[in-house]
């Protein structure tokens, strides 16, 4: 049989006949599928027009409460009027270019890192990017040097805060998680036990309990007179939590490296750290790039939990804007829809990219 014999016949006929053939095969194949198709169309007819009418046709962008009261549809004016509060929280109004710049820079570094992991030659650039980028972001946000006024981090909020908490969480959890994963694979019983207990305990409890612990118990742990602020405590909680999940991701990668590779390192008389650095980790980490991106996505979504301990991340600022004036409170659908759209855009595109990466990185294994 030649290669060509396996291919389906080329579509022939006019567009109309092809459309009919296609829908016969994909929509009206048998009575059960016909019912499903008709049911689905009826459902869409019931669902879509009112939503379009509400969200677009009858909606208003007028950023005043009066303008919104007149409109029968969505009041996007709520978002329009409170955009800066939603995006940047209570950061001093005149200084809001700083979180904006920091956010763009951070997004650039995140996108840059995600892009760079695809190409082995660019992977080396990832660490320098963060090493240079994070201090610049810190300077922009805190200020106090180069003529920038100092902004206490209790004023930080909005989308920059969500991005900072989740990306710094993953970046700092990375080395910690790696150590835990290596500890779990270790032949030394004490180190193995400590790692396993840490990983399993953290994975067994919800993030909110870790955040409560960070916000309520950390202050008790510290010596007299030393305090760390709420944001930093939440950040530490997020790092400790993420590390346990990343450790399991890394373990998957380490287990996928064939035993022969470990033995090859031994037979070259490399020390443990040498063979890890030169032989094992480069292979293991390449395998775990997509699940690491997925961990970042779930961390990004979970960061919203800091609302519960009283920080104003992106979801918190939406709630803040809803409460800023009693007249706005009833436009919660618009507020939450806006936040949901932003979260969806970021998470969906990262998830798609992660799926694409998974396929790309496997190319070498396919023959």
């Amino acid at each position: 049989m030649s290669e060509n014999a396996k291919l389906p016949p080329l579509p022939t006929g006019t567009f109309a006949t092809r459309a009919i053939t296609w829908s016969k095969k994909n929509l009206f194949d048998g009575w059960f599928n016909t019912i499903l198709t008709l049911g689905s169309i009826a459902f869409l007819m019931w669902l879509i027009p009112p939503i379009v009418e509400w969200a677009i046709v009858n909606a208003t962008l007028s950023p005043t409460i009066e303008g919104c009261a007149e409109a029968t549809g969505a009041c996007w004016g709520f978002v329009n009027a409170n955009l800066r509060l939603i995006l940047f929280g209570t950061y001093p109004f005149d200084e809001q270019w700083r979180p904006l710049l920091a956010m763009i820079l951070l997004m650039g570094i995140i996108c840059g890192s995600l892009g760079a992991v695809k190409y082995p030659s660019f992977r080396k650039a990832i660490i320098p990017m963060w090493v240079i980028g994070v201090p610049i972001i810190a300077i922009l946000m805190w200020g106090g040097v180069f003529g920038l006024t100092y902004v206490q981090n209790s004023y930080w909020g909005g989308l920059p805060l969500t991005l900072i908490l989740s990306s710094i969480g993953v970046i700092f959890a990375f080395p910690f998680g790696l150590l835990l994963a290596l500890g779990r694979q270790s032949h030394m019983p004490a180190i193995k036990t400590v790692s396993v207990v840490y990983i399993e305990v953290i994975r067994g409890v919800p993030l909110i309990t870790v955040l409560f612990m960070a916000s309520v118990m950390f202050p008790l742990f510290l010596p007299d007179g030393v305090t760390i602020d709420k944001l930093l405590r939440a950040q530490i909680g997020i790092i400790l939590f993420t590390a346990a999940y990343l450790a399991e991701v890394f373990r998957g990668g380490l287990q996928a490296v064939p035993r022969g590779q470990f033995e090859a390192g031994d037979s070259l008389a490399l020390s443990y750290w040498q063979s890890m650095r030169l032989i094992i980790l480069p292979q293991a980490l390449r395998l775990v790039i997509p699940p690491t991106v997925n961990s970042f996505i779930s961390m990004f979504k979970d960061t919203t939990l800091v609302v519960i301990i009283g920080l104003f991340d992106f979801l918190g600022t939406v709630k803040l804007a809803l409460r800023s004036d009693p007249a706005w409170t009833k436009y919660y659908v618009e507020g939450y829809a806006f936040a949901a759209a932003i979260f969806f855009l970021i998470c969906f595109s990262m998830a798609k990219y992660s799926a694409y990466l998974e396929k790309e990185l496997r190319k070498g294994e396919r023959r």
Partner: protein, 398 residues
């Protein structure tokens, strides 16, 4: 890893350096150092904590559990009042957590399976709809979804005065949903006992039927027989109990609705949010589970002349279950852990009650240690159960 050994002819006595280069000695040393550091850090934290607690005049210990809680809880499954102890309050919270998690697990399994199967449908429009559902709800943070549902329910439904009545007896109001429930009667206890007896009977009949089929090849209509036994026995108990028909109907009295069973907006928000969010993950698990079964299995069943529906039940599903169970366990655990977000919408779950307790008594360490260990216990129980189930389903090879 091999240990470096001295050659038999080596007469050189071992010096300190040799010991330090011995892999085993090093391993012990590393472990001593690691444990030492952890103990040191722990001791430092504990001593700081004790000092701080002493400064703030907070006594440690779990004695506070017997004190009067003196706060009300809106939803309780056991007897509770403000005079009850903190321990009872925490128990109420735990039961609420278990209630919403169990219901959520059941619902998300059903909905997730439907959407997982729909994503593999040969029907284009059904496939696309299922994909949109899964991609939308899994990429929006679950807390945002909870807030949304919690804001929507009181906003979308009317005041109890002009409650909606979609089905006679069921009232939808801004204070939640009200359903008629039967008035308590001895007949219901009798029915519960009958149900248990029916289950035991079905178990033994199933054993007998399998034995007979193994011996003679004769199949037994187990499903119909089981259904008959169950419904028959329960119905019999109902009639024997005097067939009570009294129902507690919800009705407007004064400014609020009395009678019936109330499902609060908080509970609905948590349940809907958790179910929708987790069902998208379950859908993906189901989809990959079905896709993991090779097409040859369908063809093999066909060539043995097995009906499609029997093939699905006896050939395909048992194999896809095997692939799906471990990730499904993870999703159930995630749902249980996410139920702690109930604190954000005011549903009195374990974390919410503990939080109130913590604020009232200042016993932060004790309260946090209680709910952390309960969640750990729940996680452990779920994974033990699923491991047992997994073992039962696992492929038995020679």
């Amino acid at each position: 890893m091999s240990k470096p050994q001295n050659a038999p002819g080596d007469v050189r006595s071992k010096g300190l350096v040799d010991y330090l280069n011995d892999e085993n000695v090093r391993a012990v040393l590393y472990q001593i150092i690691a444990i030492g550091l952890i103990v040191l850090a722990g001791w430092y934290l504990v001593s700081n904590t004790l000092y701080n607690l002493e400064q703030q005049n907070i006594s440690t210990g779990y004695g506070f559990l017997d004190l009067e809680a003196s706060f009300e809880i809106s939803e309780t499954m056991i007897d509770y009042s403000a005079q009850s102890s903190y321990a009872t309050a925490l128990m109420v919270g735990l039961l609420n957590t278990v209630k919403v998690s169990l219901l959520g697990i059941i619902l998300c399994t059903i909905i997730g399976t439907i959407f997982g199967v729909a994503r593999l449908s040969s029907n284009w429009i059904v496939r696309k709809l299922a994909t949109v559902y899964v991609e939308t709800f899994r990429n929006i943070p679950v807390l945002l979804q909870l807030f949304f549902w919690y804001a929507l329910i009181p906003g979308a439904f009317p005041h109890p005065r002009d409650a909606l009545e979609p089905i006679p007896g069921v009232l939808l109001t801004s204070r939640g949903m009200y359903m008629p429930v039967p008035e308590p009667d001895n007949a219901y206890t009798l029915m519960a006992i009958a149900a248990v007896i029916a289950c035991v009977a079905i178990y033994f009949i199933k054993k007998w039927a399998k034995k007979r089929q193994d011996a003679t090849g004769q199949p037994f209509p187990m499903f119909l027989a089981g259904l008959g036994i169950f419904v028959g026995l329960v119905l019999l108990a109902y009639l024997a109990g005097g067939a009570p028909t009294d129902m507690s109907m919800p009705a407007l009295k004064g400014f609020n609705i009395q009678g019936g069973y109330n499902i609060s907006p908080e509970f609905m928000a948590v349940l809907i949010g958790l179910t929708v969010y987790t069902s998208t993950y379950v859908a993906e698990v189901v989809r990959s589970g079905i896709q993991a079964v090779p097409n040859g299995q369908w063809e093999a069943a066909d060539s043995l002349g097995i009906r499609r529906s029997v093939a699905l039940r006896k050939v395909i599903l048992p194999q896809s279950m095997r692939v799906a169970i471990p990730p499904l366990t993870n999703q159930y655990l995630n749902l249980t852990k996410n139920s702690s977000l109930a604190v954000a919408v005011g549903y009195p779950d374990l974390v919410s009650v503990s939080n109130t307790t913590m604020n009232q008594t200042g016993q932060a360490i004790e309260a946090i240690s209680i709910f952390m260990s309960i969640y750990l216990g729940l996680s452990l129980l779920t994974s033990l159960f699923m491991n047992w189930f997994n073992k039962k389903m696992a492929l038995v090879e020679r």
